[in-house]
């Protein structure tokens, strides 16, 4: 029996050898045995889920790190300017600085080129999933379409940002297997229309209630609301927003909750933005958030650094002087008797809130978003330099005194110019990375802000998007009602005169609610496009059109109306003057990509060198 078996095995083996023995072409194909290759790996549901995880991570990077990209989004708007005044490199003199050949991806300059790179990476990661979607065996169509829908969400997120940062851009929608250097710019509306179609599919299949940190149906509909608005399809935008507000498991957090819920000195706004409260099940406001924990692999190296980016550089050595004998008032030591940097983080004032976002919009005394403890004004700090005990004892431990035009020269080392970086109020409840009153930081001392979860889409913004859609439709009562939902939760007085509601009102409320959550430049440009597409006059009575978008637009007019920096020719300690122009409504396409694309033509945006050789953008996605 054994012998027979052996003979059979031998025969089969021989036959196999004979059958497969002839050298097929396949034999010459290289096989990579020591690495994971896409054809072998991306064939299971769990691998697809892992590929989606990387897309979440790709998206997360915008919010965190020193000189985080979100800073660049914020300074091309009415809410902030670049406050790093001890260098000539930062993006302040935008007219001179922001060119296609400038350094566009650097902590010291700006992150325009970072966005270009990061979103196209996201597009590629999503295209990989989309092109390979049917290489996997699913348990049901629903499972397949859920994964496909999430990939569609991510691709749409990237393109939504790209078209509002850069205008008409190339639009790859498939995984590419050979080097492509023949890209062409596609019209913004054409790209957005495709994203709308994709998101409408995703809305049907993506589900709510999964793990926090994953895309949800609510996030899909929220993004669809933005895309619909961008296309001027206001009824569709209302429908998409309604499906989030009325049809999902989402509710604004109006009552105390989470790890800080029992602290009677705090309030719901404080609870809502604590790092450890964002991803808990009882938080029903987050539609989509990114997770980042300093004790889990995959975290952002060196922390979020939110306090470093966003808090004024109050501790800059010898800069803030006491009113008495004009002595150095503040130190950054964590060992000081009054360790300010443990209470607020050691900020370096990269994000310099404008008077518009730090003062003018705060007209309401009851608003929790501006309440003492949540919002910090400079006069809430105290002079903590231990040396004052002998050099200027009257002022040690006393609150900082507001400077005036008459005394500013003696209150700062370099006079008024130091107020750019070292003197402004900020939303402590947003950027303070801790759930206690002492900042924690695994990576830095004094603390800069360790890793933290962050909201990408939150229901409060859905209300503000729906309010915006109502404004565009002229239904000001409904717009006011939505604004008031958000205001009521923050205990701000409700708006009462619907006739005064306009896009400016919506933008003001967004600035109050969405600090470091909304990409302000993207949203301002989106709104500028809607003004240009519809021809509706803005609240100033001015109307716009698409033909001269780069010469006259709402984006520029809004910034010049509000910032008190770009419009006033403010000069920094390093001699940079704050300037901006209408064409900055779209960022420059990095010149290297135009050069590398040798067999096609990527258009440069008007106003920048290179736009003279533009060709018409494509009417359909190639």
């Amino acid at each position: 029996m054994k012998t027979i078996n052996k003979k059979i095995i031998a025969t089969i083996t021989l036959a196999t050898v004979l059958i497969s023995g002839s050298c097929k072409k396949d034999f010459l194909k290289p096989k990579d045995l020591s690495d994971f290759t896409p054809d072998l790996t991306l064939t299971s549901v769990s691998a697809m889920q892992a590929a989606l995880n990387y897309l979440n991570k790709n998206l997360r990077a915008e919010f965190f790190g020193d000189s985080a990209p979100m800073l660049t989004e914020s300074i091309f708007s009415d809410v902030a300017v670049e406050g790093t005044t001890d260098k000539t490199t930062p993006a302040q003199d935008l007219n001179v600085r922001i060119t296609p050949t400038a350094n566009l991806n650097s902590d010291d300059y700006n992150k325009i080129g970072w966005y270009w790179k990061q979103w196209y990476q996201g597009v590629r990661y999503a295209n990989t999933i989309i092109s390979r979607i049917d290489n996997v065996k699913y348990t049901s169509d629903a499972q397949r379409n859920d994964i496909l829908g999430r990939a569609y969400f991510h691709r749409a997120y990237c393109y939504y940002r790209l078209v509002h940062e850069f205008g008409d851009v190339p639009c790859p929608v498939k995984e590419e297997s050979v080097p492509n250097v023949a890209y062409a710019s596609v019209k913004r509306e054409v790209i957005l229309q495709q994203m709308k179609t994709d998101l409408e599919f995703a809305q049907k299949w993506v589900t709510d209630g999964g793990n926090k940190g994953d895309v949800t149906k609510g996030a899909v509909s929220h993004l669809l609301t933005k895309v619909d608005l961008s296309l001027g399809k206001f009824d569709d935008a209302l429908a998409a927003a309604n499906s989030v507000i009325n049809g999902g498991p989402y509710h604004l957090m109006t009552a105390r909750f989470g790890s800080t819920g029992a602290d009677v000195t705090k309030n719901v706004i404080w609870d809502l933005h604590r790092p450890d409260n964002k991803a808990i099940a009882s938080n029903t406001e987050a539609l989509y958030l990114v997770i980042d924990r300093d004790n889990l692999e995959g975290n952002t190296a060196n922390g979020s650094q939110l306090m470093r980016n966003c808090t004024p550089f109050y501790s800059q050595a010898n800069v803030i002087l006491t009113p008495g004998k004009n002595k150095a008032g503040i130190v950054d030591a964590v060992t000081a008797e009054i360790p300010l940097t443990l209470y607020y983080g050691r900020g370096i004032g990269r994000y310099r809130g404008t008077p518009y976002s730090t003062q003018y919009i705060w007209t309401d005394n009851t608003d929790l978003r501006h309440a003492p403890g949540n919002w910090i004004n400079m006069t809430d700090l105290v002079y903590n330099n231990p040396a004052l005990k002998t050099s200027d004892p009257d002022w040690y431990g006393k609150h900082l005194e507001q400077w005036t035009a008459a005394n500013v020269a003696t209150r700062f080392l370099n006079g008024p110019r130091d107020t750019i970086r070292c003197w402004f109020g900020w939303p402590h409840y947003k950027v303070f990375i801790s759930s206690t009153n002492i900042a924690t930081d695994k990576f830095w001392s004094p603390p800069r802000g360790t890793d933290t979860d962050w909201y990408v889409f939150r229901l409060a913004e859905t209300y503000l998007l729906r309010a915006e859609a109502y404004v565009w439709k002229g239904d000001l009562n409904s717009a006011m009602a939505d604004l008031n939902v958000v205001r009521a939760r923050a205990q701000a007085a409700p708006l009462t005169d619907a006739s005064k509601i306009n896009i400016g009102t919506v933008l003001d409320e967004r600035a109050r609610e969405l600090y470091w959550e909304e990409p302000r430049k993207t949203e301002l440009t989106r709104i500028a496009y809607i003004f240009a597409l519809t021809g509706k006059p803005s609240y100033t009575g001015k109307s716009y059109n698409v033909n001269n978008f780069s010469e006259s637009n709402f984006f520029y007019d809004r910034i010049m109306e509000k910032t008190d920096f770009y419009n006033k020719g403010v000069v920094t300690n390093s001699g940079n003057t704050f300037t901006i122009s209408p064409y900055h409504v779209l960022w420059p396409i990095p010149n290297s990509d135009i050069q590398l694309n040798i067999n096609g033509h990527i258009n440069q945006n008007k106003g920048y060198a290179g736009s003279a050789s533009n060709v018409p953008a494509l009417d359909k996605i190639p």
Partner: protein, 401 residues
């Protein structure tokens, strides 16, 4: 055959060959045979379950682009040479000329970021190399108490990109399609040019105080570098574009040579030195912009180097914190050099002293490596590596029992 009085030895060589190369290396310099294949990198991304448990999950992405079109690099070379020895072998040498044609040159090619990849291993169509090499060794003086020999080597190579990626359909501004083969500016590869050619703005000097208004038109201030403008009309009259870039030199030496001299005096003294030279290459010298980007100049110690001020209106260094004009400026300087690479001096103790001590040989020596560098246009670190190169002086005794 009649013996030749001056020619001691002579040989003519002619060779032709084809070589293949698939030597693609990864970032660490290790040969990686799988570079044509796409590869997946595994990372982590945390999520939180509805129950509140946070876990770091697997997160995958394709980190390397596949290039299904990748081929072996092929070099055909034709080499002609002559080896000779003259005057009773006092003079030895060789002369070689070669012509090489490399097709499908393996390179790391930068891709548009729109592709989502930074680069891909790729082939460049065709690069031709022509070169010349000359070696000469001579025994200049041969005598009882004084010997002097020299060897000299000279090398030059010229190359030219003949094809890049082949012709492709390109849509013209008027909508027509033509087949053209374009240069690849951003990778620095130009058809018909040297693979190491430098294509950049030409720095003319520094904007001076009396040129303030003119500088302002370009977004510059006095103390910033003044670049040559080639397009002086139209919408880009005051903006620097690719049209203002020009071919300003080469990153590789135009020729290299070395000269070695060895002396032996009174039998026991050895003396020798070696000169090396690379000539005609450019190297980036962006330190001259006096702006490291960060806060380093204002907060940390820096090497002493010149900088422009209104009272020090120099033309080869910019003001402190220059470079705010929105144009990425590269300063290129000639990095030609002649290096006195080694100097050695030795004394061999006479056998007559050593034999009673049962010592076979003993030598006292002193060597200097990197003794001196002559670099007329380069005034920073070492012109060869842009960093500090130490000078070693070693003194020793070598005794063999």
């Amino acid at each position: 055959m009649k013996s030749n009085k001056w020619l001691s030895y002579g040989k003519l060589r002619l060779s032709y060959g084809v070589n293949g190369n698939r030597d693609i290396r990864d970032g660490n310099g290790t040969v990686d045979p799988n570079r044509a294949l796409a590869v997946i990198t595994s990372d982590k991304y945390p999520t939180v379950t509805p129950g509140g448990t946070a876990t770091a999950n697997s997160a995958l992405y394709i980190s390397r682009m596949a290039n299904a079109d990748l081929r072996w690099e092929r070099t055909t070379s034709l080499n002609a040479g002559i080896d000779f020895a003259l005057f009773n072998s006092r003079l030895n040498g060789s002369i070689d000329v070669y012509s090489k044609k490399t097709t499908n040159l393996l390179v790391q090619r930068t891709l548009p970021q729109v592709s989502g990849f930074a680069n891909v291993i790729s082939n460049i169509g065709q690069v031709n190399n022509k070169g010349f090499e000359f070696n000469l060794t001579s025994k200049n003086i041969v005598s009882n108490n004084f010997n002097w020999s020299s060897s000299f080597n000279f090398f030059l190579n010229r190359n030219k990109i003949v094809h890049l990626y082949g012709a492709a359909d390109v849509t013209n501004a008027d909508g027509t399609v033509s087949r053209v083969e374009n240069s690849d500016k951003a990778n620095g590869w130009f058809i018909g040019k040297d693979i190491d050619v430098v294509w950049d703005y030409k720095v003319l000097g520094v904007w001076q105080t009396n040129e303030k208004d003119e500088a302002a038109k370009y977004g510059a201030v006095p103390g910033d570098f003044k670049l040559q403008k080639l397009v002086n009309s139209g919408p880009n009259q005051y903006k620097y574009t690719d049209d203002d870039k020009q071919f300003i030199g080469y990153e590789s030496p135009r020729f290299t040579w070395s000269l070695r001299n060895d002396f032996n005096i009174y039998k026991n003294f050895d003396f020798g030195f070696l000169l090396l030279s690379n000539w005609g290459q450019l190297r980036q010298y962006n330190q001259a912009i006096n702006n490291q980007g960060g806060v380093s100049i204002s907060r940390t110690s820096s090497y002493v180097q010149p900088y422009w001020t209104p009272n020090n209106p120099i033309n080869d260094y910019a003001r402190l914190n220059s470079g705010s004009s929105g144009t990425t400026v590269n300063v290129w300087r000639k990095a030609s050099f002649i290096r006195l690479n080694t100097v050695s001096l030795g004394y061999n103790f006479p056998k007559s002293w050593l034999t009673p001590l049962k010592i076979q040989s003993a030598k006292l020596y002193a060597n200097v490596s990197n003794a001196a560098v002559y670099a007329p246009h380069w005034d920073f670190w070492d012109p060869q590596n842009d960093g500090p190169t130490p000078r070693y002086i070693s003194v020793g005794v070598n005794v063999v029992f």
